[in-house]
């Protein structure tokens, strides 16, 4: 069965499109992510060696340090943060990070996107509408071309 539309609950409003980065494991930003570069640094974590910059970050729940809120904020201010966060269950440290960083966030998404979305899928989060959607091939091609173009221009 192909699933490409998901319904969730708005935690922080806004709309964003980007490639998904999916972690079945909880994430801690302190010691887990280098907020100057966006690389995931937690040894043994399933995302170790991947980069969160500009990604729609999908994971079950935040864990560990309460320093996470400022670190999410800092990563976004540094231009290497996620463009949106989707959690199975909201947890306060992550929620506050998204509120002050002003990036859209959803939780309680049905069906569970961790089962249906893969790394690299182009997705759209519309938190105000409470929706998450895998983009069509045409939309994805357009986005990835403009991303490439943007990279070339830089």
């Amino acid at each position: 069965m192909k699933v490409d539309h998901f319904k969730g609950r708005k935690i922080v409003g806004g709309k964003a499109r980007g490639q998904a980065l999916v972690s079945p494991e909880p994430i801690c930003f302190l010691g887990g992510v280098d907020v100057k570069t966006g690389w995931v640094t937690e040894v043994g974590h399933c995302l170790e060696g991947k980069n969160i910059a500009g990604k729609v970050l999908v994971f079950p729940i935040g864990k560990g340090s309460t320093g996470g809120s400022y670190l999410i904020f800092e990563s976004v201010e540094n231009g290497v943060g996620p463009c949106a966060i989707v959690n199975r269950t909201v947890e306060q440290v992550t929620a506050i990070g998204c509120i002050i960083a002003e990036i859209p966030m959803l939780d309680q998404v049905e069906p569970d996107p961790i089962d249906f979305i893969h790394d690299g899928d182009w997705v759209e989060v519309d938190a105000d509408a409470g929706t998450l959607r895998i983009l069509s091939n045409d939309e994805a091609r357009e986005l990835s071309e403009s991303a490439l173009h943007g990279a070339a221009a830089r």
Binding site: I11, V12, P26, L30, G31, G32, V35, T41, E42, V43, H45, P60, I61, G62, K63, G64, S65, T66, G67, G68, S69, Y70, L71, F73, E74, E77, N78, T89, V90, E91, Q92, V93, A95, I96, G97, I99, I100
Partner: protein, 423 residues
């Protein structure tokens, strides 16, 4: 959500920008969690007090609140910072880190905070009572005060604790409400635990299996010490996001099994055996036999009892050439250690008591590189968990006695640790 007139005034900006911005954050949080109203808090412990966490962006936010006339309405303590405020240059922290940390600390002080810079405010006089509503950050301290004292706090991140301090209130949800404080998972401790390190190993094992659910322990003896509970709390909040646990017959909301679960049945039962100790030790010993360069005790910050036992083990001995021994502690505990003569013994052996900071919240990667440090040895599950990811330092994890012996011998002895549990 129903707001009082006073709270509405803050939201409308009548008390200025800081209280308004703070109230906006709290109202948003309240909406997310379906809170009915705000409740007053009596104490705030501020995470995001280190520039390693707050960064330039967080520092600017706190400075803006201070510049715009914000002031803290409740007793507010600061969590661990990024440098030892007294001997930062001697230890080797950079001028840049010092300057940024000074900016952040001064801004918090201007707002009215007490710059104690410790993760264990409960060891230096901030002791909330059973049922007292507070807004605390620092995951280890949250688990400790919720569980051991029965105070009521959610897991406050930096900005939400800042908002609580600026307004004196938090939304009424989560651990502030009785119905959310009952146990969910039963953990049967079926092996003897020794020292503080085994409590860290227990917490680390349980945190990996519970996420944010509330564990209830049975099989932990009534004479469990404050230091053991400190270690258990820190580990539970490192491998998972446990903010509250109960120990039947020990903690105040768990007089008996039924009370701890509020009359409900556990959703899961876990049994902790010797294999659990081995699992945590395996996961936390992240080294390939690299030489140890630094031994760190005091995560969470050391108590006077821990410092006393270190001083006894070090008495008349010297730590090995090229080895560093740090005992991280709160300022008043260091003063106490000096009064009792423990600090002099530690200094004579070549170690030092470092205050206001710790390896997790200081730029340790920079120091490690500058000094060509290799591995770190610690008795703390929390520190052993964070050090490899955050600063790229491999870790040796074992008992306090083993760590001090490593400092003296200049060589790691992980084999003896494994043997202890094989027997």
């Amino acid at each position: 959500m129903i707001l009082t007139d006073q709270e509405k005034k803050m939201l409308d900006g009548e008390e200025g920008y800081p209280a308004q911005k703070a109230m906006q954050i709290l109202v948003r949080l309240g909406e997310i969690y379906d809170a009915d109203r705000m409740i007053p808090v009596s104490k705030v412990h501020m995470p995001g007090s280190s520039v390693v966490v707050a960064g330039e962006a967080g520092t600017r936010l706190v400075e803006k609140m201070a510049a715009q006339g914000g002031h803290f309405k409740v007793f507010t303590t600061l969590n661990t910072g990024a440098i030892d405020m007294g001997s930062w240059s001697e230890i080797g922290y950079s001028r840049e880190t010092h300057d940024l940390q000074q900016r952040l600390t001064r801004a918090y002080e201007k707002l009215g905070a007490l710059a104690c810079h410790t993760c264990t405010p409960y060891l230096i006089g901030s002791v909330p009572r059973l049922g007292e509503h507070i807004a605390w950050g620092e995951s280890s301290a949250i688990a400790f005060v919720n569980s051991v004292f029965g105070a009521r706090t959610n897991r406050e991140g930096g900005p939400s604790a800042l908002a609580a301090a600026l307004t004196g209130v938090v939304p009424n949800y989560g651990f502030h409400r009785q119905e959310n404080r009952y146990g969910q998972i039963h953990v049967k401790v079926a092996t003897a635990l020794s020292g503080t390190v085994d409590y860290g190993s227990l917490g680390y094992w349980v945190g990996r299996r519970t996420d944010s659910k509330i564990p209830v322990f049975t099989g932990i003896p009534k004479d469990v010490t404050t230091d053991q509970l400190k270690m258990l709390s820190a580990a539970l909040a490192s491998s998972g996001s446990v903010a509250l646990y109960h120990i039947v017959g020990v903690t105040p909301e768990a007089a008996d099994f039924e009370t701890a679960f509020g009359g409900h049945q556990p959703v899961e039962v876990l049994t902790f055996e010797r294999s659990g100790l081995r699992e945590s030790e395996g996961l936390l010993n992240k080294h390939q036999n690299q030489p140890v360069s630094i031994v760190v005790i005091g995560c969470p910050h050391a108590s006077i009892q821990e410092i006393e036992s270190i001083a006894k083990q070090l008495d008349g001995k010297k730590i090995h050439d090229g080895m560093e021994l740090w005992i991280t502690a709160a300022q008043p505990v260091k003063a106490y250690a000096e009064r009792c003569g423990f600090e002099q013994t530690i200094l004579a052996a070549g170690g030092r008591i470092v205050t206001d900071t710790c390896p997790i919240l200081s730029p340790m990667g920079y120091l490690a590189k500058a000094r060509n440090m290799h591995a770190l040895a610690t008795n703390s599950a929390k520190l052993a968990h964070y050090a490899p990811g955050q600063w790229g330092m491999p870790t040796y994890y074992g008992s306090l006695e083993m760590c001090i012996q490593i400092a003296i011998d200049g060589a790691a002895r992980t084999v003896s640790l494994g043997e202890r549990h094989e027997g």
